[in-house]
Symmetry: C2
Subunit: 261 residues, 2 copies
DNA sequence: CGCATATTCCATAGATCTATGGATAACACA
DNA sequence: TGTGTTATCCATAGATCTATGGAATATGCG
């Protein structure tokens, strides 16, 4: 049981760390980890999102659980997986950062997409904080509704990419859109921006996604959209957009914001 | 060449990231990475330090190089490897942090050692900054001399663990020692502290190691020790210790410090 | 209780990774 | 140019990992 020599202790330490390494050695597991950093999900939802068979997805999740990077919660017949704490998401972010910094291929792929999506600069967090406060822009969360509900930028409007075209008319053409998604490696926001520009709207991507926002210590709201049930009623949505611009981190004027912190 | 569907692009991204994951899936590669974050080293030095055969070590280093995490420099007949930038070391630190946060085993091993080394609290960076400035403590770098030269805390004295017992008399028994090494997972400083306490000295470990210090943006000095050739001349060393306490981040009163920033 | 759903467990064939010895390449020095 | 040193390349046997279909579990619902 005990390690005899310091060398063995040291080897033991690195072996433990390698358990974490093994988790991120497989592309699909990284993808799963990224998804879990957006919020909890059931096994089959994860399998569907990543294109894995349920049995394979489950196997991957077991590996991740044995490394203590994810935790589970059972609800009736299904099991929800979630990232085991902020540290895990920070690690995932660090991995993505390192990838962008060191692997030209990553940047290349991102640029291939970037050009379609809009070669323009992304919006920085600070710019967003200033402009959204004054109502100049509307913040659009284009992730699936479940992820929006699990946590979103206070004041952001939920409009999943898949519903974007159908609900385009809900967006005031006069107000610029700032779209965000799961993070710098996520394609949802860039695709949304590409679509919006195609339709002649002014739109840009936020520089970062939800995990980075959260990790920066900024407030996160959760629960369904305040005014309407996510793109179910176009009529009411228009109102929400206005609010989105003005209630931005103001002083907790909506139920959403009060519970945010 | 081009990815046709968004799904393929996404898969491509995660495949790239997995290249980094593969690097840290093997214990020895993590160990190598940690060493390289202390400074550059030749292949056989790395092999010796990790207990690998040169040919195996080289193979591991190739993997790391292909993932762009390390870079090389040739000098005559030997090749020096180094971490490819601060981002890489930050990632290594994030991995270690995650390991300590999530893997009870890591903490367990550290505690097994910690009890021998001194169950007392480690010294925080802030405490060190205050107490060293006023000369209350001497800061001891117990890593191998090469690593000290590649970068150390300004004002720290180099006394590699292996030479500690032989040069114990150079340390003023009245002044408390704060030892540091490669990081929270490194055993050098704890071992040094254990030895020192065995001899009746007051000694504690610094909470962090060189990489964390550097990543915090604190000044780093490099080159050989200012006053003497590292434990070669005990007589002069005693003077150095005093300096170590007083010149601490004062206002660049030594050559060492002037070049530090 | 029996059936349906969501997961996990298991065995296995195929793919990938690791350690190692021997050969090769690059370089320094006579 | 010959010799010694340092590092990389190569082929391979052994170990590990992955995907998958089928069986086993756990839970919910009549």
């Amino acid at each position: 049981m005990e390690y005899a020599t310091p060398d063995q202790q040291r080897a033991g330490l690195y072996e433990q760390l390698a358990r974490i390494g093994k988790v991120v050695m497989h592309p699909k597991r990284i993808e799963l980890l990224d998804l879990l950093c957006q919020g909890e999900r059931s096994v089959d939802a994860l399998a569907a999102a990543t294109g894995l068979k349920v049995t394979t997805a489950s196997a991957h999740l077991q590996v991740m659980r044995q490394s203590r990077l994810v935790e589970t919660r059972r609800e009736g017949t299904r099991v929800y997986y979630r990232a085991a704490g902020e540290t895990v998401c920070r690690f995932a972010t660090a991995l993505a950062d390192l990838g962008r910094a060191r692997l030209a291929e990553v940047d290349q792929i991102l640029r291939d997409i970037g050009t379609d999506a809009g070669g323009t600069e992304r919006v920085t967090r600070n710019e967003l904080l200033h402009r959204a406060r004054s109502g100049e822009v509307v913040v659009l969360d284009v992730r699936p509704a479940e992820e929006y509900e699990a946590g979103h930028i206070p004041g952001a409007v939920s409009l999943p990419l898949e519903h974007l075209e159908a609900h385009l008319d809900e967006l005031d053409p006069m107000i610029e859109v700032v779209a965000y998604c799961r993070g710098p490696l996520c394609l949802l926001a860039p695709q949304a921006v590409a679509t919006l520009r195609d339709k002649g709207r002014r739109a840009r991507c936020l520089e970062e996604g939800m995990p980075e926002w959260r990790q920066a210590g900024l407030p996160v709201a959760s629960g369904p959209e305040a005014t309407s049930g996510q793109a179910a009623d176009p009529g009411r949505d228009r109102g929400a957009h206005h609010v989105a611009g003005s209630m931005w981190l103001s002083s907790g004027t909506t139920p959403e914001e009060r519970t945010a912190l």
